[in-house]
Assembly symmetry: C2
Homo-oligomer: 390 residues x 2
C-alpha cells in the first residue's frame, strides 16, 4: 500500500494487507500521535488495509486504541479517545467537541451570544475548527488573519482562511504585517536580533488586541488547545515562572481601557481531537507546521507530555486541569490593587506599563535597522486604517 506521511512529506510502500495497529507498529509510529485516514475517512486500529490502499498518516499528537463502537449510538466508531475511554462515530464525535467547547465557555464565563467575538485564525486546524464550531453553535465570530510574511507558508495559510470565510459568508479581517507595520516576521527578527517566535508573538498579541479595540469587539478568542496549554504549563513549572503561572488562564479579563479580554475555548480538547474534527467536518487546513519554529521548546514539551499520555491516558488533562483547579490559590492573578497601573503608549495609545509599549519599541528598532528611519507605513498609527476586511 501507499503510505503518505507529513512533516516532512514522504511516501512509503508497505506490503498489505495489514491492520492499522500493525502498520503503525511496523513504521514505529506512536498511535496516540497520529490520525490514520483512508479515502478521506478516519479509520481505527482494527481496520484492515489492503495492499492497494492509499493511506495518510497525519501527525497531530495525543489519542489511540480502545473500543470501536460509538459511545453515544453504538454505531461503528471512527475515532477512539483513550482519555475519555470512549470512541465515537463522526456525528457524535462532533457533538463531543461542541460539548467540550460549551463546557469551557460556560465554566469560565467566556462570552455570550450577544458578544462581538474576534477569533484569531492562522489557517491551522485549531482556529479553523473553532471558527466552524462557534458559528455552528450560534456565536457571532469574525476572523482575524495576520499575514506574517513567512513565504509560501503564509500565502497558503492566508488563502485557506479566505476560502473558509468566503464559503461560509463570514467576515475575515486581514492585517499584513509588512503593509501595516513595515516588517515581516523574518525581516523583523533579523533586524532586531530577536527570535522569530519572539517577534511573531509580540506582534500577534498586539494586533489581536488593537484590532479588537478599534473594531469594538468584546473578546479576542484564540485556538490554543489542551496540548498547547499543557506544554506551556510544563515549561512554566520547570522554570517556576510565577508571573506566567499567574496569567495562564482560559479567560484573561481586560485590566484597563483599550484592552479586550481573551479566551481560549479549546483548552479542554487535544490537538488530535481538533485535527479529527477538521477531517470530519471537511475543513481544509494547513497541515504543514511553521518552517521557523522547528525543534523549539514547546514542541519538545509536547513530545514529553505525549510520551506520558501514551503510558497513562489522561495524564495531560490531569496536569492542566489540576493546575487550573488550584491556580487561583497557588498562583493568584494580580489584576487588581497589586498590579502595576497601565498607561497609554505615547506612540500608539495602546495599554502599557512604560512610556512606549513593547511593540512600538520593537518596531522602531526594526524600522531603523531596515530603512534607517523609525517611521513606517503605520507610524502615525492612530490615524491609519490598519485593517482591511475581506
Amino acid at each position: 500500500m501507499r503510505v503518505r506521511r507529513r512533516n516532512p512529506d514522504r511516501v512509503d510502500e508497505v506490503t498489505g494487507p495489514l491492520d492499522v495497529a500493525a502498520l503503525l507498529a511496523h513504521l514505529e509510529v506512536n498511535p496516540t500521535t497520529v490520525l490514520v485516514i483512508l479515502d478521506g475517512n478516519l479509520v481505527t486500529s482494527a481496520t484492515v488495509l489492503s495492499d492497494e490502499a492509499d493511506v495518510e498518516i497525519r501527525p497531530v499528537i495525543s489519542g489511540g486504541a480502545g473500543p470501536s463502537r460509538c459511545h453515544d449510538c453504538r454505531g461503528p466508531a471512527v475515532i477512539e479517545e483513550p482519555r475519555h475511554r470512549s470512541a465515537w462515530c463522526g456525528e457524535h464525535f462532533v457533538d463531543h467537541v461542541h460539548r467540550q467547547i460549551r463546557k469551557a465557555i460556560d465554566h469560565d464565563r467566556m462570552f455570550s451570544y450577544n458578544d462581538r467575538i474576534l477569533l484569531a485564525v492562522s489557517g491551522g486546524k485549531d482556529s479553523l475548527a473553532l471558527w466552524d464550531a462557534l458559528l455552528t453553535m450560534g456565536y457571532g465570530a469574525d476572523g482575524l488573519y495576520i499575514g506574517l510574511g513567512i513565504g509560501g507558508y503564509s500565502k497558503r495559510s492566508g488563502r485557506v482562511c479566505a476560502e473558509f470565510a468566503a464559503k461560509r459568508g463570514v467576515e475575515l479581517i486581514t492585517v499584513d504585517l509588512q503593509e501595516a507595520y513595515g516588517y515581516t516576521t523574518p525581516s523583523g527578527s533579523q533586524a532586531s536580533g530577536r527570535t522569530t517566535c519572539g517577534v511573531c508573538g509580540l506582534s500577534k498579541r498586539y494586533v489581536f488586541n488593537r484590532v479588537a479595540v478599534e473594531g469594538g469587539y468584546d473578546v479576542v478568542v484564540t485556538g490554543h488547545n489542551l496540548d498547547d496549554e499543557a506544554a506551556v504549563l510544563l515549561n512554566n513549572v520547570l522554570h517556576w515562572h510565577e508571573d506566567f503561572l499567574a496569567r495562564q488562564r482560559p479567560l484573561l479579563p481586560a485590566t484597563g481601557p483599550n484592552q479586550v479580554r481573551k479566551a481560549k475555548p479549546l483548552y479542554r480538547l487535544s490537538e488530535r481531537e481538533m485535527a479529527a474534527y477538521c477531517v470530519l467536518r471537511g475543513i481544509d487546513y494547513v497541515v504543514e507546521e511553521c518552517p521557523l519554529v522547528d525543534g523549539n521548546t514547546g514542541q519538545e514539551h509536547k513530545e514529553t507530555l505525549s510520551a506520558l499520555e501514551a503510558g497513562s491516558p489522561g495524564a495531560k488533562a490531569q496536569f492542566l486541569f489540576g493546575f487550573l483547579d488550584r491556580a487561583e490559590q497557588l498562583f493568584p492573578r494580580r489584576d487588581d490593587a497589586t498590579a502595576v497601573a497601565l498607561g497609554e503608549c505615547q506612540t500608539c495609545g495602546m495599554p502599557t506599563t512604560a512610556a512606549v509599549c513593547a511593540f512600538c519599541k520593537q518596531r522602531t528598532r526594526i524600522l531603523v535597522d531596515l530603512q534607517g528611519d523609525p517611521t513606517g507605513p503605520a507610524a502615525a498609527a492612530r490615524q491609519l486604517p490598519i485593517v482591511s476586511t475581506s
Copy 2:
C-alpha cells in the same frame, strides 16, 4: 578497543584510535548520561582512546562537555560539569562534592557534629559516597543496611556495604526483612498483591525510623540526590499531589514521639557527580540496578529531565531549587496545628494516625497469606531484638 557497557552488561569491539566524544557519538550515547572510565580513571571528551584501550562506559544520568582544566588549580580535569560550567581534577572535584554537601547541611540545619546519625545504605553509589563524605567531614554516622531478599542483587549489595564498613572500621547495622519480619520484598509483594516498590518503600521507611528510635539516633539520613528529587518533583507536579509537595523537603522534622527527623544531604548533587565521586574515591559500589524496578515512572521522569538537561544545562537544578525556594509559600508543610495527631500503633508502638500502622497492617496481610498466621519472627516486636550489628 574493548568497550564495556552496563545495564545490561555487554562488550563491544570498536576500531580506534577515537576520542571519547567520537566514541560516544558512534555508540549513540548521550555524553551527559555516562562516565567514561579508562584503566580505572575518569577521562574527558577530548581524550584519545587507542585501538588497544579497554574502556568502560558507565551509565549514571546527567553532566558532559566543557573545559578540560580544573576550575580550582588549572591542572588537567577529569570531570566536566556543564551545570556549573566547570571542570575539576580529581582532588578538587572531591572538594566540590564536599562543599555541596556542606551547603545542604548548613542551609537546612540538618545535623551537627554532636548528632548521632543513622545513614541508610543500599550498596549503591549515592549512599556509600555519602557515608564516605560524612566520615571524611567529621560526622559520626553509622550505616543501616536492610536485606530485602532480592536474590543475588541483595547478596551483592549487603556484601559491598559490609566491606565498606569493615575497611573503615565503622558500624553497620543490618536488618534482614525475612529474619526480622518474616517476608522478603518479592514474597511480600506476591502475598499482598501490592507492587514490589510499594512493599519495599513502606518496609524501608518503617525500619529506618524504628532502628533510629530504638538506637537513640538523632537523625536518619538517606542518599537521595538531585536526579531522584527532581524526578519525584516532576511526578508530584504532573499529578498536583499537594500533600506530597508539602512534604518534599531536604529536611523533614520529627512531628511527634517515636519519630526521628530525616535529611537528604545529596539533594544538590547529581547522580553523575555521585558516581564520579565513587570512582575517584575508590569506592566499590553495586552498579547494577534493582532487577524489580525496570521501567518504572521514576526512571521515565529521570530520562525526561536528562533530555531537558542536555539541551539546557542546569535545568534540573533550576526546577528543583526553584521549587524549594517557593515551597513553604506555595505548598506549606502541615506539621503543626492542622496536622492529624499521631498516636501509637497498637501492635508495634511506632507513630501512626490509625489504630494499627500501615506497616503492621501490610505485614499481617502478608504473613496470613504466606503461612496462614499473622505472627512472624517479630510479631511481639517491641520485645524482640530486631537489629544485629556488624
